[in-house]
């Protein structure tokens, strides 16, 4: 419990994380307004009703990568962290829990805004869960790569180039991709959970094996 509390305070006092959360919330509101305006002018809505999420999730990818990479910046905060909590797997669990608790309000805010615009509040919970899971996945990748920009580049390429392309070309791949659930929860929910758990396990394995 102490460990989770400590990790949470570390996250909440990171200025870059706070800025990213604020930017994500602000940009999401603007996006929702744009979609609503486009919808009233006969633009793209309807089928991809949760469409703003597809763009807004970029903020959560950035938050996850930031949270994990901040430990590995110069100054190697991770060594101090390990001095305080030498058992690596409990530390990893505390980090994941703190990240979930920390991003939950932001994710709920974004999901509620999207649902409000779409007028489909039944999907708020699903969207919130998706965004939190995405953040955890991003943090796992950030912990594996240990550097912010490369991790973010990999995540953005996966979510914004590889995912859409694969769905466009091989429609049957949609249920297997981690980002399908952003716009189509009924098809990709399981994939999101499995990808996130796999990334978490891989990151935990790497943390327990690699030198800090």
């Amino acid at each position: 419990m102490n460990a989770v509390h400590a990790e949470l305070r570390k996250l909440l006092t990171l200025p870059s994380l706070r800025w990213t959360a604020l930017l994500t919330l602000a940009v999401n509101v603007l996006l929702c307004l744009a979609y609503a305006a486009a919808g009233s002018r006969g633009g793209p809505t309807g089928a991809d009703a949760l469409a703003p999420l597809a763009s807004s999730q970029a903020g959560f990818l950035a938050m996850g990568a930031l949270a994990a990479a901040s430990e590995h910046q110069a100054g190697a905060q991770i060594r101090t962290t390990l001095l305080a909590l030498p058992r690596r797997l409990p530390l990893q669990a505390a980090k994941a829990t703190a990240l979930v608790v920390g991003t939950l309000p932001v994710a709920a805010g974004v999901a509620a805004t999207v649902a409000l615009v779409v007028g489909d509040s039944g999907r708020t919970a699903a969207a919130t869960a998706y965004l939190v899971l995405t953040t955890v996945l991003a943090a796992s990748v950030g912990g594996l790569v240990r550097r912010l920009l490369p991790a973010l580049l990999a995540l953005l390429t996966l979510y914004f180039v590889a995912g859409p392309l694969l769905r466009l070309r091989f429609g049957s791949s949609a249920p297997w991709l981690p980002d399908t659930a952003a716009t189509d929860p009924s098809h990709g929910a399981a994939a999101t959970v499995v990808w996130t758990l796999a990334a978490l396990v891989l990151a935990a394995f790497a943390v327990s094996r690699r030198d800090a």
Binding site: S16, T20, L23, L31, A34, Y35, A37, A38, R41, G42, G43, P44, A51, A54, S55, A58, G59, L61, A62, L66, Q73, A74, G75, A76, R147, L148, L149, P150, L152, L153, L156, T157, F160, V161, P164, L165, L168, R169
Partner: protein, 249 residues
């Protein structure tokens, strides 16, 4: 000259820059390849009216390479250099070697332009050659001015990323913003449904230099489109230069 040479070597010494170089060269031909069978069907059924856009369209959509290069040339200067001295950043050393800040920015800009121009030439050639290979007689021979405009678009996009990173002093914001916007879920394109003015956004205006087929509320002539994007880049670069001169490193 030696400053540009130094900046080129610094840029090409970054692993992330190489990731950007490789992604930029590989992704666009890959998009063409993945779309091939759907495109063939569309040509056969006559649904595709403007086949001259094939390939060029793909060059307009995924511009990760130039964005990464434009971002890391600045953001790498702001990361700490040593574990035991987290406050020490490469920028301090760089400025000790090149105290003239505008000269430094000019050297960096030239280095980015050179690398991205080379990358864009390779990517454009590969993409258009692949289109010729895949569709043969069904598409016209590549139009050289339009291919050159695509290269120019990539270079201007890199300078846009460079300018925004100078202003933001972190790579996260411009990298996320520009990659998300340049891919298949383009926010700029959504904005054209909200206001006609959105066609003057730098990325949309820039693509009008060489892509004709997409329907837009306001038609821009290729040269006008280029000038609009160049004006954006010039304004942001000016803002970035002023801030870089005024702020503590």
């Amino acid at each position: 000259m030696s400053r540009v040479h130094a900046e080129l070597r610094k840029l090409l010494g970054l692993p992330t820059a190489w990731a950007g170089l490789v992604l930029g060269v590989v992704l666009n031909p890959l998009v063409v390849l993945l779309n091939a069978s759907a495109t063939r069907r569309m040509i056969a059924s006559g649904a595709l009216t403007d086949v001259a856009d094939l390939g060029l369209q793909e060059l307009a959509v995924v511009v990760i390479g130039p964005v990464v290069l434009g971002v890391v040339v600045v953001s790498s200067e702001y990361t700490s250099t040593a574990d035991d001295a987290p406050g020490a950043r490469q920028l301090t050393t760089t400025l000790a070697a090149v105290p003239g800040r505008l000269r430094l920015l000019a050297a960096k800009g030239i280095a980015v332009v050179l690398v991205v121009a080379a990358q864009a030439t390779v990517a454009t050639t590969a993409t258009l050659a692949l289109v010729q290979l895949l569709y043969g007689d069904q598409v016209p021979a590549p139009d050289l001015p339009r291919a050159a405009a695509a290269v120019l678009y990539w270079v201007l996009t890199a300078l846009l990323a460079y300018a925004i990173t100078l202003i933001a002093r972190t790579g996260v914001v411009p990298l996320t913003l520009l990659i998300v916007n340049s891919t298949l879920v383009s926010v700029s394109y959504l904005l054209t449904k909200v206001t006609d003015l959105a066609v003057y956004l730098p990325d949309l205006a820039g693509t009008r230099m060489f892509v004709r087929g997409r329907a837009f509320p306001v038609e821009l002539a290729p040269v006008t489109a280029g000038l609009v994007m160049a004006a954006w880049v010039a304004a942001l670069l000016a803002a970035g230069c002023i801030l870089f001169q005024r702020r503590d490193a």
